[in-house]
């Protein structure tokens, strides 16, 4: 038995705990110790539940000794993105608005993890309300990329990606609205799956854009993602958009040969803007798939280049509506009347006297003033920007020109996928145009940051699944990600193809040379 649980896959950990070769307690302690050593450098966790995790692990060990049944994830340490509600741990969405908030219930995914006997070790950092592509929009500080701590891990699930890459947990849960699982997985050299819209219940996921949001697993390999997805997927009466289709046994379908599999390659993906090193890594991945028996065919997604403008209308519109719930009355931050301090996390806009004059001075009532001040002080700059953009695009006189127009283009984008999947089984390509970029590089330019999702947003708009995994490294030692996208509910094929790729390559086994 390997002595170091940090070196085991999730599949190996649950097998070792079940057989008694490894106790859940020893495994949990090893990862908690790793978190304690590395979190100061990486800031991947916003909260670590040492006591709760060890108590749960002890309970699992006691039940095993007593011969009682164990769940399919028994003893597996899991990091959970802080966008998922946990009744026993704070849930902040990396926002001052929800600092210290304790939800009254567990998200359905968290409840399923607990029922499967996983050990939740803590809540991972993210861009505030999942809005961002670098994790720099967190109100509690950015996450560092374990491969180069001067660089961003991607976002918004940057804490989840960094935690897996740095062996702080073998598995983490992320959410993906426009690429927020796949892009950080790609930039951190791990495997991340965004399932089909509705495959995993969103109940208890703090809502960003409800027609786009989807929860998924992030791990070191397709096999570990498959194990996790089996536990969290499936219909939930508490989320009426969750799909009723049976959950396949993903783990049993991993080793199916890829002979005859047709993979689409979109020539436009390789147009100007794609970093040459990334392009080379992606082309080499296609060669690996050919070696595995697949064939590669050029396909067209003629409207994909409209993905970013379409997404940056639809997502902010939905966000402006979803985030209207933060009103200072029911839960979250509340500005008190006459409070002389104006907490404006991260804006840097505070005047020398600490209190700018309000531009929007005429409030209808003390209640409206409380709303406006609570939201102004609780939300960070990117969240405000998106609420403003969405409110504008939905306002009288602009709705048809912006929101309705974007919904029409959305249908064209989805139709592109339906047409492409007539002739291919999967679509392959880059996850991001570049490898991990330096912290601070894009923070001054919102539009530049929006473009980091150019290869990922279309899957959310169409509702299809996608997976990203490492397919090489740059000369500078940064991971290069490869993305596969599939028709609705073809998660088993995404995981199968990725597992076969990982049977021929060892990119996913590389570890960052993190000095701690």
């Amino acid at each position: 038995m390997p002595s170091d649980p940090l070196q085991l896959s999730a599949v190996e950990i649950v097998a070792a705990v079940r057989s008694g070769d490894l106790t859940a307690t020893a495994c949990t302690e090893a990862f908690l110790d790793r978190i304690a050593r590395t979190n100061g450098t990486l800031n991947a966790f916003l909260c670590v539940d040492r006591e709760g995790a060890l108590a749960r692990a002890a309970d699992i060990d006691a039940r095993r000794r007593a011969g009682r049944p164990l769940g399919p994830l028994a003893g597996l340490p899991v990091g959970v993105k802080d966008a998922l509600c946990t009744a026993d741990l704070p849930t902040t969405c990396a926002s001052k608005m929800l600092a210290g908030y304790r939800p009254p219930y567990d998200a359905e995914v968290v409840a399923r993890l607990r029922r499967a006997d996983a050990v939740v070790v803590g809540k991972t950092n993210m861009d505030e309300f999942a809005m961002g592509g670098s994790n720099e929009n967190s109100a509690f500080g950015p996450v560092a990329n374990p491969w180069d701590t001067s660089r961003a891990p991607g976002g918004s699930s940057g804490g989840s990606a960094a935690c897996v890459a740095a062996d702080m947990a073998p598995v983490a849960i992320g959410s993906d609205t426009g690429g927020s699982i796949r892009q950080p997985a790609g930039l951190c050299g791990i495997t991340g799956l965004k399932p089909t819209y509705g495959r995993v219940s969103r109940r208890g996921l703090v809502a960003f854009a409800s027609s786009l949001d989807q929860i998924g697993p992030m791990a070191r390999s397709a096999a570990d993602c498959a194990l996790t997805l089996e536990a969290i997927a499936g219909h939930d009466p508490g989320d009426s958009t969750s799909l009723t289709d049976a959950v396949p046994d993903y783990s049993r379908m991993l080793d199916k040969p890829l002979t005859g599999l047709r993979i689409g390659r979109v020539p436009e993906h390789f147009a100007a803007g794609l970093d040459p090193e990334v392009a080379r890594g992606v082309e080499e991945a296609f060669a690996v798939f050919r070696e595995l028996g697949a064939t590669v065919h050029d396909v067209r997604l003629p409207h994909a280049h409209h993905g970013i403008p379409t997404y940056y209308l639809i997502a902010p519109c939905e966000a402006s509506s979803n985030l209207a719930r933060y009103d200072g009355a029911h839960y979250g931050y509340r500005a008190e009347p006459g409070g002389g301090h104006r907490a404006e996390p991260g804006t840097g806009h505070r005047a020398a006297d600490g209190r700018d004059a309000d531009a929007t001075a005429a409030f209808e009532s003390p209640l409206v003033e409380m709303y406006c001040r609570s939201r102004a002080e609780g939300f960070g700059p990117e969240v405000k920007r998106r609420i403003m953009l969405g409110t504008y695009a939905l306002s009288a006189g602009y709705y048809d020109a912006y929101y309705a127009k974007a919904l029409r283009v959305r249908r064209l984008i989805r139709q592109d996928y339906l047409d492409a999947f007539e002739s291919v089984d999967l679509i392959g390509g880059p996850v991001s145009a570049t490898a991990a970029f330096p912290l601070g590089e894009k923070t001054g330019d919102p539009l530049a940051m929006y473009l980091v999702d150019m290869y990922t947003v279309t899957a959310n708009l169409a509702g299809v699944g996608g997976i990203s995994f490492p397919c090489g490294f740059t000369a500078g030692g940064l991971p290069i990600g490869f993305q596969l996208q599939a028709p609705a509910l073809a998660e088993s094929l995404l995981l199968n193809a990725t597992d076969r790729f990982q049977s021929l390559t060892d990119w996913h086994r590389r570890r960052p040379p993190l000095a701690v």
């Binding site: 009254p104 403008p309 209308l313 200072g328 309000d358 003390p366 001040r373 102004a376 306002s395 127009k405």
Partner: protein, 105 residues
């Protein structure tokens, strides 16, 4: 939507801030006027896409009503919900006056 790049005035942005229930500082307003004009100009490129024969798609799933049986099921207790409220009296959420008087409830 005109394909000419639109521009938001400071007054437009102040109006949207009030609709958004955000008390922006003068500096934020200046900043957002420039940023939102740039972003709106960018997304306006969709005007060039011919969608004359295309219906809007608001949701990736085929839309249909989901019904459940009309039976009472357990729900959150008042206590567990009020616990998170910034101000409450044990029975209700407390908020400032809804009409034009000053002072919090």
């Amino acid at each position: 939507m005109s394909s000419a790049s639109p521009s938001l005035s400071r007054q437009d942005v102040a109006k949207v801030a009030l609709l958004s229930r955000l008390a922006l500082s003068e500096r934020e307003l200046d900043h957002l006027t420039g940023e939102l004009s740039k972003i709106v100009g960018f997304v306006s490129q969709l005007a060039d896409v011919d969608t004359s024969a295309v219906e809007p798609l608001a949701h990736p799933l085929d839309s249909q009503n989901v019904f459940r049986d009309d039976v009472v099921t357990p729900s959150l207790t008042r206590e567990s919900v009020l616990r998170s409220a910034p101000r409450h009296d044990g029975e209700s959420f407390l908020v400032p006056a809804v009409l034009g008087e000053t002072g919090a409830a």
